[in-house]
Amino acid sequence: MKVPFLNTDTLPYCKGCGHSLIAKNTAKALEKLNYQPLDVIMVTDIGCHGIIDKCLNTHTVHGLHGRSTALGAGISFATDDPGKKIIVFIGDGGSTIGLQHIMEASRLNLNMTVVVHNNYLYGMTGGQTSGLTPTGFNTTTSFDGNPFEGYDICALSHTAGAAYVSRIMGICDFSDNLAIAFSTKGFSLVEVLEICPSYGMKLNPRRKLAEIVESSGRKPGEWTNNREPYELHQGQKNQDLLATLPLIKKGFKSYLKKPLSMVVSGSAGEGVQLSAGLISKAAISSGLHISQKGSYPVTVGVGFSTAELNLSPGHINFHGINVPDMIIVTSQDGLAHNRKRIEAMKSGKVFIDSSLEVPQTGADVIRYDFRSVGERNASVFAVFFWALKSGIISTESLFKVIQDEGKGDKLPMDKIKDALSKVK
């Protein structure tokens, strides 16, 4: 038995409302295309158009005001079955608040059709001006006529990349026009023009639809883009994010007996986060537990770059660092970012580049020319220096990390080794 798309002849709209015609023509167009009702997913939202759901024998999804295009897009992403048809009903008000969703679906050329019920105002809420209301059109919120031009929703959708866009007068039989849109591969949008009998007609007496359309400059028409419809293009995927994590073998010893907090700080682009990673991995290979986090301004390529590390022979719970036990500072940016911390240190060690002013501090201060190996490598060299001087982890453990990760070619290791050999 053939199931009709509409389960009633009595549609829930005001007398003379174009929405009834859109529903009937939609059903007719789908029948012409031989769709079965349950091959069709109708997505509607808040607005008079949305009360059609109960009259439909299709699947129905009734969402939020203006969001039906995005909701329909989500369904479209989920299915590549060409036998399914996703149709979105939306009003001119919904198109205003949900304009981004229409642009996005057009840009991606998703397999779906949006039917814009443009009756030039918000009907359900009392006849207010929408973004698609044309200049001079009276609404309950613009009695002297809308002073602004409405959006050209067709031009916007077409420009964004929709495969097929059309604007039609919502009169008589326009099922063939809808059928073209419904059978388009990719994104299609049909703007159906109508006048709301409850507000539009009363507030604009003696004006006819044809004249309004003519004066608005938004005439019926068709626009196409010869584009391939959306197809899922996903890059290479990891099958397991844990499998790609390198396991760190224990190959070194550390004589650290209690937790140590430390900060490495310098300038962006000078290897601070890289050197913190070296410490972390070398410490793990030395049997220590670590925590590591970075801190830098939102403009990641400029200004300070700071890393906070905790090293411990036992499990680390709390990883926050207020005043560290040790700090390595290799540039003015790093010093400015950590001056208060250095001043607050009552003990511990400060490893600071010899070009920098040393703040008042209770920590032992070790000054050295870390930037002698080049500013881009200052932090890495300082970390080797720190390992050598502090003995917390060995320089061999740091070299091993560099070797294992193949970073040897990117760092001037000979220069760093040479500089390290000169450290007394």
């Binding site: 109960k54 009734h62 992403f77 989920a78 981004q100 996903q234 925590s291 990883h319 926050g320």
Partner: protein, 374 residues
């Protein structure tokens, strides 16, 4: 997992664990919009999930997720407050439509855009009040790296079993800090088993007719039974109603399914010490400080217990029962208004309750120790 590598450490952040956990549990898609401090989750999501979509904003994110969920997929996303704020109306929609999904909310310092790279625990009150009508939406909170492995999968399972969005609450310091970690200790994660309405049934499918409070699911992409999904007040068929008895029962059921089945997802840790009179309560990022504080206090001979709530909303009744059995309770959370206690007791907090709060800085073990001793 990695049996042969037992005991070997790796360096990882918790964002990686969260995404891998959800992927193994059966998440189909990650829908993302960039926002700090949730960007690592986005990055890993794009590397791991079968489908990754870059949405143009967070409203679209939730709408796309809802469309995917209506078609039978399980989508996930991650954001922080500014993005979450945009999502809320759509989360209400997904809640009303009864669509499964997981939203990872990474807390940062507010209000508004606040400080994107500063941690916080300031969004709990928002989460409790986010559904119009006051209905609770399940919120689970990670308090350790291990939680970042186990709870995301449980969140996904809960979302499917209860047909609801679920929030996995975490914070900047939890997901952006790397730690040495032995991944061989992580338990296996089973793929969530989805149950559908029996397609062989010839009777009329009612999309919102519940079995054990939750309706049987069918995707809108099948062709045997008509599916109506509705964000407005609706009856069991999914048809829009004003306030009929059937529709009101359905709206009431949305709350009931979350509350009546709460026993299925009441997760917490209780480290009890015999004869302890003081209880420390901490969740999320503050748990680490509480554990260190407890270690020090006990080393000094203090008798203290620790409650770590994992299920935050709906608030399991057992929390108040536990707290009421101590003569002194210290609640530590990184906000300035003691949102967890307010969730339990409103503005009339018991007089034996003390609060350790902070703004813009992690709570330290010392702060908790001082309050326990005070």
């Amino acid at each position: 997992m990695q049996e042969n590598k037992k005991g070997m450490q790796t360096l990882t952040d918790a964002s990686r664990l969260i995404i891998e956990s959800m992927a193994r549990a059966g998440a189909d898609a990650f829908i993302g919009y960039p926002i700090t401090p949730a960007n690592l989750l986005y990055l890993y999501g794009s590397q791991r999930m079968p489908l990754m979509l870059a949405a143009p904003d967070e409203i679209t994110t939730l709408q796309w997720m809802s469309g995917l969920a209506a078609a039978g997929k399980i989508p996930v996303t991650a954001t922080s407050f500014p993005g979450y704020a945009l999502m809320i109306e759509s989360i209400n929609m997904a809640y009303m439509m009864e669509l499964p999904m997981v939203i990872v909310l990474v807390q940062r310092l507010g209000p508004a855009t606040g400080t994107a790279t500063c941690g916080a625990q300031g969004d709990l009150s928002l989460l409790r009040g986010q559904i119009s009508g006051g209905h609770p939406l399940p919120v689970l909170c990670t308090s350790s790296f291990r939680d970042c492995w186990t709870l995301p999968a449980k969140a996904l399972e809960l979302a499917v079993n209860l047909r609801t969005p679920v929030v996995l609450l975490t914070s900047k310091e939890m997901v952006m800090t790397s730690k040495s970690f032995d991944i061989s200790v992580l338990p296996e994660i089973e793929k969530v088993e989805r149950k559908y309405y029996d397609m062989k049934c010839d009777g009329k499918y009612k999309p919102y007719k519940p079995t054990d409070w939750v309706p049987d699911f069918l995707p809108v992409t099948q062709s045997k039974h008509q599916v109506r999904i509705n964000a407005s007040t609706h009856d069991q068929l999914g048809l829009l109603q004003h306030s009929t008895e059937e529709a009101m029962n359905n709206t009431r059921r949305l709350e009931e399914k979350i509350v009546k089945r709460a026993h299925e997802y009441t997760w917490y840790e209780l480290d009890e010490m015999q004869e302890a009179n003081t209880l420390v309560v901490a969740y999320g990022i503050t748990t680490a400080a509480a554990k260190d504080a407890l270690g020090q206090l006990r080393a000094e001979g203090e008798k203290v217990s620790l409650l770590i709530p994992k299920t935050l909303i709906p608030v399991p009744e057992v929390y108040a029962e536990i707290m009421d059995s101590y003569s002194k309770v210290v609640v530590a959370e990184e906000n300035i208004n003691n949102q967890f206690s307010e969730l339990l007791y409103g503005v009339r907090k018991p007089r034996n309750h003390r609060f350790v709060g902070s703004m813009g800085k992690m709570i330290t073990p010392q702060q908790i120790i001082e309050e326990v001793k005070a």
